[in-house]
C-alpha cells in the first residue's frame, strides 16, 4: 500500500539529507520525492510517495516527526487532496507518425515542448495516474528519454482541517 506524505521542513542546509538518511537507515522505501519552496521563504515542502508494505505509515510519520527540522507531516488522502505530476517525454516521431501522436497528446492535454526532425518532447501535467496512462500509450512509438517530477499535492481548497493545521504552525 502506497501513501503520499506532505512534509513541511525548515529551509535549512541538510534538512532533505536528514529525511533521506532516516529513510535509508530504517529501510523505508521512497517511490518518489519532490522538494520545493512554499508560501514561506523559510519553509520547504517535501512530497513523498512511500511504500508501506513493510513498515506501517504511522511508524514512518512518527520517525519523521522526530527530525528537528520537520515542522509538520500530513498524509494526503485521495479524495481530500489533489495530486499532480509533470513529465517530459522524448518520443521517436518521424513525420509520418506525428499526426497520430499529436492526436493522442490532445486527449491528455499534453503540449509539444520541443520538436526535432525525428523526435518530439511532450510536456504533460496531470494526476500521476493520467501520466502513467499517457506514458503507456506513447511507449509503442519509442520513448527515447523520460523524466517525471514526482508527485506534489495539496489538500483541497474546501478542506478546513488543512487550513487549521497550517495556522498552528504559522502561529
Amino acid at each position: 500500500m502506497k501513501h503520499t506524505l506532505s512534509v513541511l521542513v525548515e529551509n535549512k542546509p541538510g534538512a532533505l539529507m536528514r529525511i533521506a538518511s532516516m529513510f535509508a537507515r530504517r529501510g523505508y522505501n521512497i517511490d518518489s520525492l519532490a522538494v520545493g519552496p512554499t508560501e514561506r521563504h523559510d519553509v520547504s515542502r517535501v512530497t513523498l510517495r512511500v511504500d508501506c508494505d513493510q513498515h506501517p505509515l504511522e511508524q514512518i510519520e512518527k520517525q519523521m516527526h522526530k527530525l528537528v527540522n520537520v515542522l509538520r507531516v500530513a498524509e494526503l488522502v485521495s479524495g481530500e487532496a489533489i495530486e499532480r505530476e509533470l513529465a517530459l517525454i522524448k518520443v521517436t516521431a518521424p513525420p509520418v507518425r506525428r499526426g497520430e501522436l499529436l492526436a493522442l497528446a490532445e486527449v491528455f492535454h499534453a503540449r509539444v515542448a520541443d520538436l526535432g526532425p525525428e523526435a518530439l518532447v511532450f510536456e504533460v501535467v496531470g494526476s500521476p495516474e493520467e501520466i502513467d496512462s499517457f506514458e503507456e500509450l506513447v511507449r509503442p512509438h519509442g520513448v527515447k528519454e523520460l523524466v517525471r517530477t514526482g508527485r506534489i499535492g495539496l489538500t483541497r481548497a474546501s478542506d478546513r482541517t488543512g487550513i487549521k493545521r497550517r495556522q498552528h504552525i504559522l502561529r
Partner: protein
C-alpha cells in the same frame, strides 16, 4: 570577544561544570579561550573516544548533559563511537567539534571531514555553524534538544574562522526550534486506561527501561510499583532505577537474565513497558515474546510505540507525569491489588532457579566469585558507582552486583561498545567526586581504552578498575563454544600479556594481580580503600561461560541454564 569565548560563555550559561576533550588545530581558538579563563573544568583525555565516553559516563552518573570537545577530521571521527553509543542508549550529549576554515570546507583541506554528514544517522540533530552570531543560539538549541524529549546526542561543528570572528555576546533565553516539540502533556484517558488495566491484572510486570532514569521518574516508579503491588524487572540500562533489595524487584530480563526474570516477563498477563523499547536482547524471538500479555507502553518517544511490539494501551508523555498519573488514579479508585498469588509464584521461581556456577573448590578463580566479592565488600554502601565494558563480565556484573540507587550502574547497552567502562568511570567520577567509582572491565575491553588511566591519575579522578581477566574475548569465545562447535578463532588474548598490574604502575596507578580466591578479597578491599586509581587484575577461569543464556533468535522461554558438571561438588 571572539566566537571561541562565546562558546565558553554559552557553556557557562548552560551551567556546564566540566567538559572532556583533546585539543587540535581546528579548536586552537577554543583552547586559547580556555587559557584566558572559564569556570568550566576541562578534563584532558588521551583519545577523543575516551573523551566521548567520559562525557557519557558523566551524563549517566549525574543526569546532566555531557560535553565532549574534539578537533576536526580524526578528532571528530574518533567521537563517532561515543556518539553512536549515546544515540543507542539515549544519553544526553553535546559534542563540539572544530572544523576547517569556512573557505576551505569542501576542498579536502588538511584534517577536513564532513562530520555533520558522517553523524547524521546517529544524532538527534547537528549544526554546522557558519556565522559567529549563530554560536549562542545554536548552543542554546543544542543543549535543549539533547535533554528534552527522548535524550540523545547532538553535534555542533564550528569552523576555525568562526571561532576567531568577533561577536557581541548575548545568550538567548529560549531555543528557536519550531520543529522540536516533544510531548509535554499526558492524555488523561490513556492514563486511566493504563491504571484500569493494572488494577484488573492478576499477573502484571513492570518492565522498566533506561527511559525511567532519563526522565528522573524513579520515585514515581517506586510509588506505582508499591501501590499496584506489581513486580518490577529492570533492563540492563535501568539497573538501579528500582532498589534491587526491594521485595518487588525481580531481576533483569533478556539474553543473560535469570530464569525467574524471564519467566515473569513471558508469563505475565499485563506487561507495562516503562521507558523501554523491546530490544532484541530483552525479548529474544519477538514473535514468541510475552505471548499472553496485554501491553501497556509508556514512553516519551511516540515512535517507540508499536515499533516492535504493538501496544494495547499506549501512553506518550513525560514518565514522571505518566507514572504519577497512573498511581493517583489507582489510589483514587482504591481497588485492592490482586497480585499476591503472582508474587508468591515469582518468589518460588526465584528460589527454585537461583543463579548458579561451579565454585570448583577454589581451584580456579571464578569470575562470578569476583563479582560476588565486590558485591559483599560494598554491601549497604550508597556511594558506589559501577561502570562496565561489554561482554561476559558485564553480564556477570548485571547478575551479581546489587544496585539500590538510580544512576549507580553505568554501562553500554544498545551499541555494546567494548572499552566503554574505563573512560565512563572517569566521567562518572567527575560527576560524583565523593563516590567510589568502580569499573568492572574485561581484559579485551580494558585494552581498548586503557590509555585513559593517565587521565584518571593526572586529573585527580581516581577510579578502581577490576579486570575480570579470562585471557579471552570471552563473549565471542562463548558463542564460538556454544554455536560453532568450540572452534575458537582469534579470541585468545592470554592472561599475562600485558601484565596489567605493571601497566597500571607505569601510569602511576596502583596495580594488583589476583590469581586465586585467597588473594581476591584482600586485594579488592585494599584497592577500594586506596583513594587513588588502582587496577586489580583478576585472572579468572578462562573458559567459564555466562548462564543462563537465551540463544539469539530463540524464544525467551527456551533459555539455556547452567548445568552442574557431575564431578564437581559445591
Amino acid at each position: 570577544m571572539n566566537g571561541a569565548d562565546a562558546v565558553l560563555r554559552s557553556l557557562e550559561a548552560e551551567g556546564v561544570e566540566v567538559m572532556f576533550g583533546l585539543p587540535g588545530g581546528a579548536v586552537l581558538p577554543l583552547y586559547d579561550a580556555m587559557a584566558r579563563g572559564t569556570t568550566v573544568r576541562h578534563v584532558l583525555a588521551r583519545h577523543e573516544q575516551g573523551a566521548g565516553h567520559m562525557a557519557e559516563g558523566y551524563a549517566r552518573a549525574s543526569g546532566r548533559v555531557g560535553v565532549a570537545v574534539a578537533t576536526s577530521g580524526p578528532g571528530a571521527t574518533n567521537l563517532v563511537t561515543p556518539i553512536a553509543d549515546a544515540w543507542m542508549d539515549s544519553t544526553p550529549l553535546v559534542c563540539i567539534t572544530g572544523q576547517v576554515r569556512t573557505h576551505l570546507i569542501g576542498t579536502d583541506a588538511f584534517q577536513e571531514c564532513d562530520i555533520v554528514g558522517v553523524t547524521i544517522p546517529i544524532v538527534k540533530h547537528s549544526w554546522l555553524v557558519q556565522d559567529v552570531e549563530q554560536i549562542p543560539p545554536v548552543l542554546k538549541a543544542a543543549f535543549h534538544v539533547a535533554h528534552t524529549g527522548r535524550c540523545g546526542p547532538v553535534l555542533v561543528d564550528i569552523p576555525r574562522d568562526v571561532q576567531e570572528a568577533e561577536i557581541d555576546f548575548r545568550y538567548p533565553d529560549e531555543a528557536d526550534l519550531p520543529g522540536w516539540r516533544p510531548p509535554r502533556r499526558v492524555n488523561a484517558r490513556q492514563v486511566a486506561a493504563a491504571a484500569d488495566a493494572l488494577a484488573r491484572a492478576d499477573k502484571p510486570v513492570l518492565y522498566v527501561g533506561g527511559g525511567v532514569l532519563n526522565a528522573g521518574a524513579c520515585t514515581e516508579l517506586h510509588e506505582l510499583a508499591e501501590t499496584a503491588r506489581a513486580p518490577v524487572v529492570t533492563t540492563l540500562m535501568a539497573k538501579g532505577a528500582f532498589p534491587e533489595t526491594h521485595e518487588l524487584f525481580f531481576g533483569w530480563p533478556g539474553m543473560h537474565g535469570p530464569k525467574w526474570s524471564n519467566w515473569a516477563m513471558n508469563t505475565c498477563d499485563l506487561l507495562v513497558a516503562v521507558g523501554a523499547r523491546f530490544d532484541d536482547r530483552v525479548t529474544g524471538r519477538l514473535s514468541a515474546f510475552a505471548p499472553g500479555a496485554t501491553v501497556v507502553h509508556l514512553d516519551i518517544d511516540s515512535a517507540e510505540i508499536g515499533k516492535l511490539r504493538s501496544a494495547d494501551i499506549p501512553v506518550v508523555g513525560p514518565l514522571r507525569d505518566v507514572l504519577a498519573g497512573i498511581t493517583d488514579r489507582l489510589r483514587a479508585e482504591g481497588r485492592a491489588p490482586r497480585t499476591e498469588a503472582w508474587l508468591r509464584q515469582l518468589e518460588e521461581w526465584r528460589e527454585q532457579f537461583p543463579l548458579r556456577y561451579a565454585r570448583n573448590g577454589g581451584e580456579t578463580l571464578k569470575p562470578q566469585t569476583v563479582l560476588e566479592t565486590l558485591r559483599d565488600l560494598t554491601a549497604g554502601r550508597d556511594d558506589v558507582v559501577w561502570t562496565t565494558g561489554v561482554g561476559q563480565h558485564q553480564m556477570w556484573a548485571m547478575q551479581y552486583l546489587v544496585c539500590d540507587r538510580p544512576r549507580s550502574f553505568v554501562t553500554s547497552g544498545g551499541l555494546g561498545t567494548m572499552g566503554y567502562g574505563l573512560p565512563a568511570a572517569v566521567g562518572a567520577k567527575a560527576a560524583r567526586p565523593d563516590a567510589t567509582v568502580v569499573c568492572v572491565d574485561g581484559d579485551g575491553c580494558f585494552q581498548m581504552t586503557c590509555q585513559e588511566l593517565a587521565t584518571a591519575v593526572l586529573e585527580d579522578l581516581p577510579i578502581v578498575v577490576v579486570i575480570v581477566n579470562n585471557g579471552y574475548l570471552g563473549m565471542v569465545q562463548q558463542w564460538q563454544n556454544m554455536f560453532f562447535d568450540d572452534r575458537l578463532s582469534h579470541v585468545h588474548l592470554t592472561h599475562q600479556v600485558p601484565d596489567y598490574a605493571m601497566l597500571a604502575e607505569a601510569y602511576g596507578a596502583a596495580g594488583f594481580t589476583v590469581s586465586s580466591e585467597d588473594e581476591l578479597e584482600p586485594a579488592l578491599a585494599e584497592a577500594l580503600a586506596l583513594g587513588r586509581t588502582a587496577v586489580v587484575d583478576c585472572r579468572v577461569d578462562p573458559r567459564e561461560q555466562c548462564f543462563p543464556m537465551i540463544p539469539a533468535g530463540a524464544a525467551a522461554m527456551e533459555l539455556i541454564e547452567f548445568e552442574e558438571p557431575e564431578e564437581v561438588v559445591g
